[in-house]
Amino acid sequence: MFKKILIANRGEIALRVIRACKEMGIKTVAVHSTADANSLHVRFADESVCIGPPKSADSYLNVPSIISAAEITDAEAIHPGYGFLAENSSFAEICNSTGIRFIGPSPESIKQMGDKARARETARKAGVPVLPGSNGVVTEESSAIELARELGFPVIVKAAAGGGGKGMRVVMAESEFANAFVMAQTEALAAFGNADVYLEKYILQPRHIEIQLIADEQGNTVYLGERECSIQRRHQKLIEEAPSVIVDESLRKQMGEMAVAIARSVKYRNAGTIEFLMDEDAKYYFMEMNTRIQVEHPVTEMVTGIDLVKEQIRVAAGLPLSFTQRDIELKGHSIECRINAEDPETFTPSPGTITAFNPPGGLGVRVETAAYTQYVIPPYYDSMIAKLVVHAETRADAIMRMRRALNEFIIEGVKTTISMHKKILDDPDFQKGDISTKFMERYNNPAQ
């Protein structure tokens, strides 16, 4: 096992990894920008190294600084968390070539699953349904429009290197197609330096269902059930839960085995997530794979009782998984609300000083946060300040517990999305589980 791990991240996820390390008896090194000198991850790590100025590009994305920090502190492994360098294959490669273990998949797996068109092809070859669409990149407008006609409208044009909703255009009718196609290409070029786009059939009311998996060096690949992340706004997840109301035992097994098949086909190692879109008839289609630990991993931990970050560290150290597929049993229901420092109406970020901070507690409540009273939320990074996770016997109980916990959560000094979450939890459709990725559209333009 590793003696010392460097965490190449900040905020709650850095703290999450530090906690796992402490419980495993592993020393920790925090890295931080000058803006994060007073952060909790810096405080709770055994050592810390300032790696650059506030801007992410010069600090948390500064590969030479981070590698150098690992070298001067004799860290044997780097946990990348999520975001920043977590899905950067060249960073994983540099770690490996300097003799530092990257806690995650191989650079080849990151590359193969990171390119969306290639990932789709990989899934298709593994026998997993993909949304009907172009098999790969479309460059000519004329052939694209022909294909769109074949698929039937609506269709979606997506950037091959995309993410976060950039380079994405939904086309409802043929008359809008030519314009949308060129716009998506231009956006893709601007955002990712690559104008490649592909086409897909578009589902009007899709659910976002994803399968958590983890694999070890010995070739064991296990799926840990699904998470439903349909409550989103502009492709940003707001609420996640496990299990999904729409997924029963046999569908779970089917989707889980599909996810494992994809992972096996690329010799995937460590934790990963296969995201599926599900249509109104519970037909599912491969969307993409995330080759890292995800923000919403705690809901899976709550229903499986497995510490995913510890398992990540174990398998990175070459140890086998501490469980097999047969040991996985889902217990109860878990919900996570992402609390952002944002205006709950306009979603504009609200950085500043937290003047009062009272996280909720009690049975079945878990708060993942790096915030505290007098903490200054810097304007340089993302706006998520806490993940509120609850666990209860049933979904209805979990909703009651989440409403209770949201009411106890006091954050003053900055605007937060707590009130938005209360509204969603009170929504009869949410309570019935009648949700899709379009759910949040009902809250748009509240003005008459």
Partner: protein, 158 residues
């Protein structure tokens, strides 16, 4: 805004947790801040490697000349410039163990002159002086790890 209103604001602040308040009304800006008791430092940046004596809060720049006029501080001191590490790595005072140090205390240095080496990822990076002047203090031992922004040298500009 008149004096009375400001007084009221101060009273108001006393009874709340607000530590700072800024109000702008018809071109007049008022900023109120509560006394020193509210500053909260849960932790200071630190590195826990044996040889390094951490130099307390990094002052990266001396106040601009002139701004310190009238203050009771030693005027020579306020002119001093702190050279901080631009990268993370290992600090060396010479290019090789058997070579003389780049600079010693008391040395006069020119702008662009190499002061030390910081090794990062097996690359030797020469750190150059941005101002001509005299080396007053060398704050880090050769062979010690340094982090971004860590003070390395104190220079008195020529």
């Amino acid at each position: 805004m008149n004096l009375k209103e400001i007084k009221e604001l101060i009273e108001l602040m006393k009874n709340t947790d607000i530590s700072e308040l800024e109000i702008e009304r018809s071109g007049v800006k008022v900023r109120l801040r509560k006394g020193g008791d509210v500053t909260f430092h849960p932790s200071m940046p630190r590195m826990e490697y044996p040889p390094v004596a951490i130099v307390a809060p990094a002052v990266t720049e001396a106040p601009a000349p002139g701004s310190a006029a009238g203050k009771s501080e030693d005027p020579a001191k306020t002119n001093r410039i702190m050279v901080t590490s631009p990268i993370v790595g290992t600090f060396y005072r010479s290019s090789a163990p058997d070579k003389p140090a780049y600079v010693e205390v008391g040395a006069l240095v020119k702008k662009g002159q190499a002061l030390c080496i910081i090794e990062a990822m097996k690359l030797m990076n020469e750190i150059e002086c941005e101002n001509a002047g005299k080396i007053i203090q060398i704050l880090v031992e050769s062979g010690a790890p340094v982090e971004y922004g860590q003070p390395l040298f104190v220079i008195e500009p020529a």
